[in-house]
Amino acid sequence: VKTREAIPVTALSENNAMSYLSQFGYLPPTNPTSGGFITQETMTKAISEFQSFAGLNVTGDLDNETSTLMSLPRCGVKDKVG
């Protein structure tokens, strides 16, 4: 059955992944005006935490499986609540 749900967009860009990880609590909130700069290590750790929470292989890389999952419809509440 053709559904009207959002068809997963192709691989998410690194930037989009960063704002996704920030939106859902894996990275500190970024200040759009200051273009928050983070280390690769921080990004790898955030991706790993997301992969673990979502039950994906934990690679720390923004691989296709991970960026596809990031494109799926979901709840807007953070996964990690302080």
Binding site: T3, E5, A6, F53, G55, L69, P73, C75, G76, V77
Partner: protein, 394 residues
């Protein structure tokens, strides 16, 4: 197991409702569905949670409710804009933040259909947040963050059941005495256990004082009686006589607080008493002028302010700060005007610190104070709020 080695399972945000009889209203409906159909699906989404607890959910058409539901598009006033079709479908606020649930009205909401996005499943998930559940990393759980498409034979995952019962306990015996989920209808109509709703406090919720004991229990004093507050409202078996529990303590107490030394101080007229728990701690009463030099008699309220841990006394239009570590304990710059506490009225009845906030009570209303902005907290619904409704479970 998760990356931190713990087993995968539900997560609690840390707040929950103090009462179990919750109300909700749908302030803004989706454009593309019949209102009556939305009412039915939303009610079904709430019953996912009432099925396994003593929670009950009553829809109201207007007025103050616990959970407000809105279908909105884009920016909608909470600083967390929706993003059009797909992506974020909805979000909800945990009880400590008000409990409301917002749905992205750009989505193609549907009921009992493989097409579009299923309203019932998303709503049941969001109401889990409204009740205090965070996201679960159990993929099959309703509280997992990702929408899994229409599930015609939806059943709540055991992980979700464990989570909601960790917050609100299991469903107790229904009125018929049998314990089974199909008595939900009965359990919804059972009279709340005695003491959960107190006629005296619900008809007149003005109190003499309220304080937290060193054990962390909250008590409300009124006349010769007192009530113990629980997370759900009033503990059963109350009211009780003050003098039966705190021997030697009279009724009609003006104020009370528990200091960081674990001792509780009661004030009435020109006298004060000191207790450890419910045991008097020495030869009391003593004169306030003796033990709290600089503090007047006949005070209205007293509390240890969460902002700085000092003791504050309130009377009429003025307040005093008492610091036992200072000499003199009350600086000559006091008293000052209560109007400095932006939004707090004069002649208050009681003040209480609870879960990191300071609350002020006057008549049948109360105020939550924001220590950072040094003013009454801005929230929805706004303060002052009904004490009976939010504290006494009426």
């Amino acid at each position: 197991a998760s990356s931190d080695g713990r087993s995968k399972r539900y997560a609690l945000q840390g707040s929950r409702w103090r009462v179990k009889k919750l109300t909700y209203k749908i302030s803004k409906y989706p454009r593309i569905l019949e209102k009556s159909a939305v009412d039915k699906d939303v009610s079904r989404a709430f019953s996912v949670w009432s099925e396994y607890t003593d929670l009950t959910f009553t829809q109201k058409r207007s007025g103050q409710v616990h959970i407000e539901i809105r279908f909105e598009r884009g920016e909608h006033g909470d600083g967390d804009p929706f993003d059009g079709p797909g992506g974020t479908l909805a979000h909800a606020y945990f009880p400590v933040y008000g409990g409301d649930a917002h749905f992205d009205d750009s989505e193609h909401w549907s009921i009992n259909s493989y097409r579009g996005t299923n309203l019932f499943q998303v709503a049941a998930h969001e109401f889990g947040h409204s009740l205090g559940l965070s996201h679960s990393d159990v993929k099959s759980a309703l509280m997992a963050p990702f929408y899994r498409g229409y599930e015609p034979n939806f059943i709540l995952d055991s992980d979700d059941i464990q989570g909601i019962q960790a917050l609100y306990g299991q469903q107790t015996l229904s009125s018929s005495g049998s314990e089974s989920t199909d008595t939900k209808v009965n359990s919804k109509t059972t009279v709340p256990p005695p003491g959960e709703e107190d006629t005296q406090l619900c008809s007149d919720s003005k109190i003499d004082t309220m304080f937290d004991s060193a054990e962390g229990h909250s008590y409300a004093f009124k006349g010769d009686h007192y009530w113990k507050l629980t997370t759900d409202g009033i503990a059963s078996g109350y009211p009780r006589l003050i003098s039966n529990s705190w021997h030697g303590l009279p009724g009609n107490i003006d104020a009370a607080f528990t200091y960081k030394n674990g001792k509780t101080y009661f004030f009435k007229g020109s006298k004060y008493w000191r207790y450890i728990g419910k045991k008097i701690d020495g030869d009391y009463p003593k004169d306030i002028s003796e033990g709290f030099t600089g503090i007047p008699d006949n005070i209205d309220a007293a509390t240890v302010w969460t902002g700085n841990g000092k003791i504050y006394f309130y009377k009429g239009t003025k307040f005093w700060r008492f610091d036992p570590a200072q000499r003199p304990p009350v600086k000559s710059t006091y008293p000052k005007l209560i109007s400095n506490w932006e939004g707090i009225p004069n002649n208050i009845d009681a003040a209480l610190t609870y879960h990191g906030y300071t609350y002020f009570f006057k008549g049948d209303m109360y105020y939550r104070f924001n220590d950072r902005t040094f003013s009454v907290d801005v929230a929805d619904p706004a303060f002052p709020r009904s004490t009976a409704y939010w504290w006494f479970g009426c």
